[in-house]
């Protein structure tokens, strides 16, 4: 079987990654764009200094409010919206502007760097990837718009058509940004590109659309009322940013609480220490490999964390918590008890369904339950077996695929293990 050779690379784990050519390409082009713009601006000088300063301040303020974390999709929405609106700024209170694409890139980069100084001091500054993305997307929007505008191509586009043109340009920019983000994540983590891109695109209607709409509104509003529009309209976006931040905080707390609840079975001596956490991390990787979306992955992760919680209702612990070795009827009873506990916890009902059905025959199970079942069995079989244990465990799962473990899940598990994704940062 071909999988055998894949798995054998497990022994060659932790070989240092080579820097991927894509990453080098993105970073180099961002640096070239930034340096070129800077040189051009130094050569020609700044046009409309007041406007440049106002937008610079806006972007700096947005960056100062930056919030980074594993579950934050847009770290500095106000900064991003301000940068995009400066890239698409045509008029200022009715008078045409003259700044070019080079000036846009320079101002945005300078303001982003200034705004991130306090974060760098705390060790949470924007990463090179984020800066490269910012420079490239803003550069793309500005290069699409400014030269044509300054040549007067858009003069015959009247009112609403011009607004729609800005919107279309920004949407295109957002699409390119999503592709770029997915490509960067792909080359960093080696997770499959398709699901990553789908995740990025799915997130666009959320905070992404707010950023795009705000960018367009600000560019248009400055054209009508001048720079006063900036403070007036950044307040609503700051509000959005605040809601997003509080949402992220409560999600983070919630995840911690679920993990603690999951640890209850370990403390009570029903399962070995760290079992729930390892099953959750590995399930997430397998789910990602099978192309599950972000919300589905969250359900999967919570279900994997709590998959053994039904054991709390047992009077005597199962030996070493190894449920995969129990008779099927007993496994199902524990699963149903677990589902009942999970239903009480107020977690999404989908999580309870996965926990309940983890012991059903795999043809009747939802995908998440199949994953939890296979990964749990693998974890129980592979732990404490020394070198070669993972291989034997995988072989056992493959032989059991007829009824118990879904073949596609076992193959995904083999791929994940051979890719050594377990060393990737596990959130939570």
């Amino acid at each position: 079987m071909a999988g055998g050779t894949q798995v054998s690379s497990l022994s060659a784990r932790r070989t240092p990654h080579r820097r991927s050519p894509l990453l080098t390409l993105v970073h180099t082009s961002a640096v070239l764009l930034a340096l070129g713009s800077l040189a051009l601006v130094l050569w020609t000088g700044l046009e409309e200094r007041g406007t440049a300063l106002a937008f610079g301040v806006l972007i700096t303020v947005g960056e100062l409010n930056r919030r980074s974390g594993p579950h934050v999709r847009e770290a500095a929405p106000l900064g991003a919206a301000g940068a995009l609106s400066y890239a698409l700024l045509g008029e200022d209170a009715g008078a045409p502007t003259h700044h070019g694409a080079a000036q846009v890139v320079t101002v945005v980069l300078a303001a982003s760097l200034v705004g991130s100084v306090p974060h760098v001091g705390r060790g949470q500054g924007p990463t090179a990837d984020q800066l490269a993305r910012r420079v490239l997307t803003v550069g793309f929007a500005a290069v699409c718009f400014q030269p044509l505008y300054n040549q007067g191509t858009f003069t015959q586009w009247d009112g609403p058509a011009y607004a729609l043109l800005l919107l279309a340009l920004l949407s295109l920019t957002a699409l390119c940004d999503a592709v770029l983000a997915a490509a960067l994540a792909h080359s960093r983590t080696r997770w499959p590109f398709g699901p990553l891109l789908r995740d990025e695109l799915r997130a666009l209607p959320g905070i992404g659309s707010a950023v795009v709409a705000t960018g367009a509104v600000m560019a248009l509003a400055v054209a009508v009322v001048g720079l006063w529009a900036l403070p007036v309209f950044s307040v609503p976006l700051l509000l959005t940013q605040l809601s997003v931040r509080r949402y992220a905080a409560v999600r983070c707390t919630y995840r911690q609480t679920i993990a603690s609840l999951a640890r209850a079975t370990e403390i009570a001596g029903y399962t070995p220490a760290g079992h729930a956490r390892r099953v959750a991390a590995l399930s997430r990787e397998v789910g990602r490999d099978l192309g599950m979306s972000r919300p589905e992955l969250t359900v999967l992760e919570y279900a994997a964390l709590m998959h053994d919680i039904g054991q709390l209702s047992l009077v005597d612990p199962v030996p070493a918590g190894a449920t995969a070795a129990l008779p099927l009827a007993e496994q199902r009873r524990i699963a149903l008890l677990g589902g009942a506990v999970v239903r009480q916890t107020g977690v999404d009902a989908a999580v309870a369904v996965v926990v309940e059905r983890q012991a059903d025959p795999c043809r009747e199970q939802p995908l998440a339950a199949r994953i939890v079942r296979a990964v749990n069995a693998y974890e129980e079989k592979a732990r404490d077996t020394g070198p070669g244990g993972p291989l034997t465990a995988l072989e056992e799962l493959r032989l059991g695929t007829a009824g118990d473990y879904a073949p596609e899940v076992v193959e995904a598990l083999a791929r994940v293990l051979s890719r050594d994704c377990l060393t990737s940062p596990v959130t939570g």
Partner: protein, 438 residues
Amino acid sequence: MEAVPARARAYVACVAAAAFLCLLPLSAVRTPWWALALLAALSAGCEQAAARWRFAGTFYPVLLAGTFLLPPPAAALVALPGALLSPVERRPQGLRRLWRAAQLAVSVWAAARVHGAMGGRAAVESSDFPYALAPAGVAVLVFCLVLSLLDGGILALAERIPVRRAWHGLFLRSLAPVAVHGLAGLMMAVLWRSPYGPVAALLVLLPMGVSGWVFAQYHRERAAHQATIRALVQAVDIKDEYTRGHSERVGQASMMIARELGMDDARIEVLRFAGILHDVGKLGVPTRLLRKDGPLTPEERRVIELHPEYGHEMVRGISFLGEARAAVLHHHERLDGSGYPYGLMGGQIPEPARVVAVADAFDAMTSTRSYRRARPVGAALEELERCAGSQFDPRMVTALVRALSRHGWHPAVTADEGDELGVPRPRPTAAGWPGVRR
């Protein structure tokens, strides 16, 4: 409120009549009908979307844009279709819809009136910034004021809440969100009048909608989180039938002590969690030991005394608990150093742990266990005062005595629903708790 009192009905009728009077001059003013129709449709659509995604609060930007754009009667009309068609869950639905529509129409009319009188509409038309901000700000103030006045009235009449309490805070609480919606409304109005037209104005709604949606998600997630914390506590209750409801009562007593000591709200909340979760480590103690009747052997006692460390091990990953984690670890320490797990003395014991220790002992004494009856509150306090200084921190004991003399002891137990966990739960051994309202 199934039966609405007659005076509340009369009040709604009066406000509806006032709304009708506001709409009456509609034929006399020059009304841009297509703009009105578009805004009304938008407002109704936003209302439906807000109800569907369970936004917290109403979505005002469209109404306020109408206020800044249209003459007062026309602006008031914008509010009607959305309010009359909005889904209402509680009965009587017809009356509630009528009330909502009348209330919004009157408030919008008043705001538009003030805005127009200050020359706001001309300022919007000529996009005269920063002057346009002044009439808009005053209009938002008036809108909030009228809305909260009317709201307070209906609360006082229909729910029989005292007038002072009904109005208290209503205005200030609504001001900040409405002001932000007002800024968005102003931007919408300005863009509507600009050469870019309504298309550009529509874009303003997108960030506002996203913000409302995220906020609703936040509330949902927070509720789920609180349910999960309760589940943690219930997991302990399953194992240890004597202590049913004990955790929540200790949480409440800890909160009372913290409040009496003048701690700030965040710290009081942390102490409530500390009280609720103090025994979570009992999950790690074999059920057989927890349920054992009769004296424990020294070996068994040592196993039970591990529960603070188990509890700390469980909750140490939950960062929002902060100091509460130390309280879980140290709630069995005594001031004279004879407690466990570390035998800390006096000031070495973290303050939250000293609070929870007193609350824990108080509830243990005042609730019935299988091996003894509950003591009255007074006797329990005497016992606490006797042990103050050696076992308990006298400051905490005094605070508990003072708090109880002021508010009494009425613990509400919410974790009372049992058997759904699929585990037969033993019946409570005594008929009830003296002095405890169930």
